[in-house]
């Protein structure tokens, strides 16, 4: 009988304790919080420097302490989460098409950008990462289609990076053939098919793909240049291979209007606009993103590679065309279905 009483007391005690400890979702001092959902590789630059810098700036200008909280996942996953109702206020996405999806679902207004960069905050070229010493002798995208090369490639269903990668492969082949004489779409398709045949794993996001590659799986990984540079910085035994021609991925930022209250709007807009200031752009460059506002800033990073034949999604006529034409009609219908 006493044991029962002991248990009941214990449970009541624990209940009180657990209520007291229920971590308060908002921050202790009632500080305002900006909630950011971003695609995976944004993590370091945002958390380590952009947030602290903006907090400091906001404190100086308005005397108010603010907090950031964020979640990182593949770009498409972020969009799905927002559409399911996560309280994101700012979305930093890998591809512009994802902003379009948010506009369609009514989360983001159609006039979502205000700057000359059309909502793009930074960019980075797509490169190939290989093991140290490049044992498979990979120099360009077509080499990835060679027999016996194990390629890690994020999943285009959930990752924006994966879609960039597909555009990079396909577009580079088109551009190279075009420079050599005539656009060879058949060859581009062939290369894409060849590479896809060698894909041994499709993780959910570019960052997940990198972690897998880091743990020793696969021979090559197609990813954002900054991922390669971050890995080299951490002395990972890899090499960054710069294709002769590749795409620059461009990353948009949008305010999720639905989750922004009127009194929060100024600070949220200020934060968004801050991303285009020289201060923020310099931070991006430091973290191996390339600036979209000022090419001079990019000279600050000696690691940035020179790309012979760079291109952007405009090559395909923007995401509105690139997605249906390349990702759907070519990749999904002709490559993946095989």
């Amino acid at each position: 009988m006493n044991r029962i009483k002991f248990f009941i007391t214990l449970i009541i005690f624990l209940s009180i304790l657990m209520t007291a400890c229920l971590p308060s979702p908002s921050n202790g001092g009632g500080k305002r919080t900006i909630t950011v959902y971003a695609f995976s590789v944004m993590k370091e630059s945002l958390e380590k420097e952009i947030y602290p810098a903006f907090k400091e700036k906001w404190r100086k200008e308005h005397g108010e302490e603010i907090e950031f909280t964020s979640s990182f996942a593949g770009s498409e996953t972020v969009v799905n989460q927002i559409q399911q109702g996560v309280p994101a206020q700012i979305a930093i996405l890998s591809i512009e098409r994802d902003v379009t999806r948010l506009i369609q679902s009514g989360h983001v207004p159609s006039d979502w950008y205000v700057t000359a960069q059309k909502g793009i905050v930074n960019k980075t070229p797509f490169v190939i990462l290989v093991r140290k010493g490049n044992p498979k002798g990979i120099q360009d995208f077509p080499d990835l289609a060679k027999e016996g090369v194990k390629v890690i490639h994020p999943d285009p269903v959930s990752s924006g990076g994966a879609q960039w990668s597909i555009l990079a492969i396909y577009g580079s082949e088109l551009l190279k053939s075009e420079k050599a004489g005539a656009k060879d779409e058949a060859k581009a398709l062939e290369t894409l098919k060849g590479i896809w045949k060698n894909v041994v794993s499709t993780p959910g996001s570019a960052r997940e793909a990198r972690t897998q590659f880091e743990t020793g799986f696969g021979d090559a990984l197609i990813t954002y240049e900054l991922e390669g540079l971050l890995m080299k910085q951490a002395n990972a035994p890899i090499e960054v291979i710069i294709p002769k021609s590749t795409i620059f991925s461009e990353h948009p930022v949008a305010i999720v209007d639905k989750n922004v209250k009127a009194d929060e709007r100024p600070v949220i807009e200020a934060f968004r606009n801050y991303l285009w200031t020289d201060e923020a752009q310099k931070i991006f460059v430091k973290y191996h993103f390339r600036s979209v506002t000022n090419d001079k800033l990019n000279e600050n990073n000696p690691e940035f590679a020179k790309i012979e034949l760079p291109f952007t999604v405009q090559q395909f006529g923007g995401w509105d065309k690139a997605y249906p034409d390349v990702i759907e009609k070519i990749f999904r219908d002709q490559v993946q279905k095989k």
Binding site: M1, I4, P25, Q81, G85, P87, S205
Partner: protein, 273 residues
């Protein structure tokens, strides 16, 4: 049938079977667990400690602890109640209810999370009406709900068989001696269920604290707000911060070890008398 083979009076079946058992467990359970510990501490205890006391990590552990506690409390009380009702009364649909309660065992946890989203999410069946007044999804409550869903059958499953084997005459004896239903439950039924309740609670808690699939869908996975320990581990792993992931993984592993040790050793103490 088969005679045990003895080598000079020594039964070799014993070491052989033990050896086989450990041999099977080694690559399946023991080595993966060991690798967490080896990897987690390989870059020095200092780094391990730093990873452990990171505010995000502490928050995640705390959130897991609290949400699991409430889910456990609810499920044990409900499980007890449901087991009581379903063993005491036979009614139309009682078997169906027993099956439904057990259902979450077979449902993928991601589906559990998804179904909650479809119900309580801002665009969900009920959520579209309620979300403007109070948020359930993407808060700690969502995590508790998901934990409740996923661990629903555990306490019930442990408590019900004990109820069933409990002699009805104990309760009848209590009644003839002058006890009300409540007194009988309190003095006679509950003490007999002590062991089952503690076992059910620990199982539920252990399962809830490690829950991932449903939580990632309903929590919003915001660091220091709605990120539980397993989500933290996954996030850190994805970010390539394997040490940080490992540190928390070790804490969870040790925690489970503790829980199951308690289960194992406290059982006799609880069942006694």
């Amino acid at each position: 049938m088969s005679s045990v083979r003895h080598v000079r009076g020594f039964d070799i079946a014993k070491p052989l079977s033990i050896f086989t058992m450990v041999g099977v467990m080694l690559p399946l359970i023991l080595l993966p667990l060991a690798s967490i510990f080896i990897y987690g501490t390989s870059s020095g205890l200092d780094k391990f400690w730093q990873a452990l006391i990171a505010p995000e990590a502490i928050f995640a552990l705390q959130l897991s602890l609290v949400t699991s506690f409430w889910a456990t409390l609810f499920n044990v009380i409900f499980g007890l109640f449901a087991a009581y009702v379903l063993t005491k009364y036979k009614f139309w649909g009682s078997n169906a209810l027993t099956v439904i309660i057990s259902l979450p065992t077979a449902i993928p946890t991601a589906v559990a999370g998804f179904s909650l989203l479809l119900l309580w999410g801002p665009y969900g069946l009920l959520g579209r009406f309620t979300d403007q007044y109070f948020h359930i999804m993407f808060t700690a409550f969502a995590i508790i709900l998901a934990n409740i869903f996923v661990t629903f059958p555990l306490a019930f499953g442990v408590i019900k068989p004990v109820f069933e084997t409990m002699s009805q005459s104990l309760e009848e004896a209590s009644a003839t001696m002058g006890a009300t239903r409540w007194q009988t439950f309190w003095h006679v039924t509950l003490p007999s269920l002590r062991g089952a309740i503690v076992t059910g609670a620990l199982l539920t808690f252990a399962r809830a604290i490690g829950e991932f699939g449903s939580t990632i869908l309903v929590s919003g996975n915001l660091a220091s707000r709605t990120q539980t320990a397993p989500l933290y581990i996954f996030a850190k792993f994805n970010e390539g911060q394997v040490e940080a992931a490992n540190a928390i993984a070790i804490v969870l592993a040790l925690f489970s070890f503790f829980i199951f040790s308690v289960l194992f050793f406290a059982q006799s103490w609880l069942d006694k008398k």
